[in-house]
Assembly symmetry: C3
Homo-oligomer: 387 residues x 3
């Protein structure tokens, strides 16, 4: 569904962002972990509205639209791969090279003039940091380097990345805005993460008036930075003169209190990926993507990165990730974000939320993101692109 | 959804009624029994499309829209009431005074300029006869007295009211028309109520041509009266000269036959409430509301009133109500009305039923109601009012 | 929903066919077997969007719209037939003669002027070959002879017909096109039918260029013929020079190979019925209908016909049908067609499939069918006809 002109007319500063209900085209999106797809294995997924069939062939990952040109049926309904790099439609035998989408035969009509003349939509794939990225965009253009579509440091050589993914029932933009929103910290006040580490965890922030810093060099990722050092933390919630709730504050001399807060901060990057420094533990970085699935769902692709230089460090890190961080951080902490996004979805589902919302001062960071995404997001994915 | 002009053009006599798919604004509607909401308790409900959070505070009932101004999330998703008369949004700590809707703090952003300047939609509440009524309407107008929106005698001092409520999957108008329709008696011919009392129960009525009496004094309730004494009861159903079904008729000299039929009658009142005299038992009055929930559902709020003057009378009445009337009347008898309304819903759901129906002579009472409601219903609730 | 002009503008050669999402009116459609409806029994069904109540009265079948004129409720919600040839609405006693739809009484309002002046929509019925056919069309026109709406030989005196019916979740046209599509044979390559008979079963066909034969005599059925003798069978599927799958081919001298292939062929007939000669066994004919239920479902009415001349032949045939053919052919073989049609439905559900499909050479048979149906289908059923 396209967005009503009534709504678009009222969000002039970030019109493209509001239009991009299905996401921005011509970007790289993470979809699965490399370990999810063994040699010769296939899987299906949906991203930016596109139903996709993905296969690992001789080590490389390839992705095509999961829909036969002939009658529009999904190959995956009854997958027939007679050779390692082809898929044959179960209905009439239309056979495609998975690596380039070419129609190379029609088994039931082997003399057809269509053979060699038709091509299925393909999606360039690449892997980095154990993550499979797909490029959803125009087949007649060269995809940009992956480094333009991931946050800084993600691709650093010593960065070891691990994670999980799950489907969330909200539009992808509510994922971005929930993650980058520094005062949504309020919903985490009882988080299980408190059991795993000593930390300062305020109720919210009084945001300063410092100019907002963005990164917009042509040849690189585009993002908005929110260094937490700019904020004055809020430690107490007061109603009618009575303190009703408190943030978690470590004693002045404690280890946690001494930690240089300058290292902590969040930033959000196109095409919809958050970087949180020194989180969920010191020395870790959380990178998480909100990948559009359709207009009402996104793939929540959560990763944690740690710099490791020795095999011993890696072993310790793997143990920490598996034994604690999946449960306490990626699920325990972020599950609250998931239900928050799902609770927000109905207000924005008919697009009126974008003009009816009542934002407050710290939301200026979110507005900066909307504007940056409108400036640099590029082509908007539409239902028409799915034909 | 708004009603198509094609339909409205063809129902000139009761256009406003057909438009009022979501009900009429600026009226009092019953929503719960007083006993449903103890001191300090909260509950949620939906009426005329409005999602509402209701709380009893120091004895009084207050109601606000269950949706934070900021990001549109429902408070009730994770209710946080840090003090007895406030609600704090779980997402960013927007805190509202429940009694007047004022934004009195934002716990995560306590210096926000929004504080004290924004207000949540509120719904005036009052209690009478053990029933909580909410006023769904404009906040800048004084609600009318409750007595304008309930049938005569309901508020009488000696009237003791008890009841139940349930959700029905039909538009509220099909509730009104089912209840006020004197010939729908045909569906009750096997009612379990027959086991509880001796009564005359015809199959239908030949309605006379007497002018229809309405009540439309400016300062009072507006309704249409249908005194059953005007009708000639139909005792036998005949097909091709053969009697195929009979109404229930007591012997000429019996108690039931002697009862003065002049006391029996039905009337329907704005904003959608039926009064049935001497029903379901002699000396009782049934008052029942059909409160719009959304376009396809209504709250069926069923009450019985009996005049009681002594504690002994009250005790007997309470016993009668609890031991027999809930089962035999409010459920036993009226459950047939519920499935009838739900069976009617599909024909009217796309609004074409209003012009395709084939009404018969006794439906002139229903038409009188449609016209009265169009004259006096007032402002029509729309989806736009929910923003 | 009506089809968008954007789509219709691009399918000029078979516009009416694309418009006929709910089917063509003024045709005979099979709905149940005669044995499904005993004397005095009623049943309900939906065809071309019409909710229908059908009853056998003194041997004859009659069908009326299952919706009371008054308030639009379905009679079948609580069926009340007080006499053998009438139905009385449970709500107010509107009573109709089932044989002609006349409103003959209103039991709750026996003096109503409507009586004798209103008529319910009726659907002419007739039985042939143990099948009940209904005519869905205008009540002011004489239905054509049944012989115009069934394939040749179906009504032959020595033809004994047996079958089953089931509901399929796809538009009726995808049923027609799946059945008549000679190269969809590819999906049946593993069919259980192979266990029941020796047969040649190629992977597909190279279709010749012979002119397509149609039958369009004014006084008779209208159809497109596809004699399999015109095809060159495809026995091997080859990808990159490697044979990856083979059809089933009997040895040159075998019984199956000797069978005269000229007798084998398929044809499709208005209003949507396939005839397959010498199938699923030699000496049998499959006749199967794809009857629109609503825009997204069809009744798959499958029958097999065999010529029998003696009681002994009949007994053998009944045994063969019941013991083998239901399981191996009508379910075993055709169940693959069912899931294929259901897998195709999403691509055509929004009508864009009709312009986005990429047909191949043998699909010229299907195009011939689309054109014939557009020429001869006649009036298009619409939502408006259901009022």
């Amino acid at each position: 569904m396209s967005i009503s002109e009534e709504v678009l007319a009222r969000v002039k500063g970030w019109r493209e962002y509001v239009e991009a209900k299905l996401g921005f085209r011509n970007h790289w999106y993470p979809v699965r972990f490399s370990s999810d797809l063994a040699e010769g294995q296939t899987t299906t997924l949906k991203i930016l509205g596109e139903a996709i069939l993905m296969k690992r062939i001789k080590g490389e990952v390839f992705a095509i639209r999961d829909r036969c040109l002939h009658r529009g049926v999904p190959f995956s309904k009854k997958l027939e791969c007679f050779t390692h790099d082809t898929v044959t439609c179960w209905y009439h035998g239309y056979t495609y090279r998975i690596t380039n989408g070419e129609l190379i035969n029609i088994l039931a009509v082997p003399d057809s003039k269509l053979i060699g003349r038709k091509k299925l939509k393909t999606f360039p794939a690449q892997e980095a940091k154990g993550v499979i990225f797909l490029f959803i965009g125009d087949n007649d253009r060269e995809p940009p380097p992956l480094s333009h579509d991931v946050p800084p440091t993600f691709l650093d050589e010593d960065m070891d990345v691990r994670g999980i993914w799950q489907e969330v029932k909200s539009n992808w933009r509510l994922g971005c805005e929930n993650g980058f929103d520094t005062v949504h910290i309020f919903i985490h006040k009882d988080t299980v993460l408190r059991r795993e580490r000593e930390m300062n965890f305020p109720l919210g922030h009084i945001s300063g008036n410092k100019p907002i810093e963005t990164v917009e060099a042509a040849e690189g990722p585009k993002g908005v930075l929110d260094p937490f050092a700019d904020h004055i933390p809020v430690w107490e919630g007061t109603i009618d003169g009575q303190v009703v709730v408190k943030g978690i504050r470590q004693p002045a001399g404690s280890e946690a209190a001494k930690r240089p807060s300058a290292s902590v901060g969040a930033s959000i990057w196109l095409p919809g990926v958050l970087k949180v420094d020194s989180f969920p533990m010191p020395e870790l970085t959380q990178f998480e993507w909100y990948v559009p699935i359709d207009e009402g769902k996104h793939l929540y692709f959560q990763t944690l990165g740690k710099r490791v230089h020795t095999e011993e460090e890696r072993t310790g890190w793997v143990h920490q990730f598996n034994s604690k961080l999946i449960t306490a951080a990626l699920h325990g902490f972020n599950d609250d974000d998931i239900w928050a996004r799902e609770a927000t979805e109905p207000f924005y589902a008919n697009d009126l939320g974008w003009i009816d919302e009542v934002l407050c001062e710290p939301d200026r960071m979110i507005i900066a993101w909307r504007k940056l995404a409108s400036r640099w997001g590029g082509a908007i994915q539409t239902q028409g692109h799915l034909r």
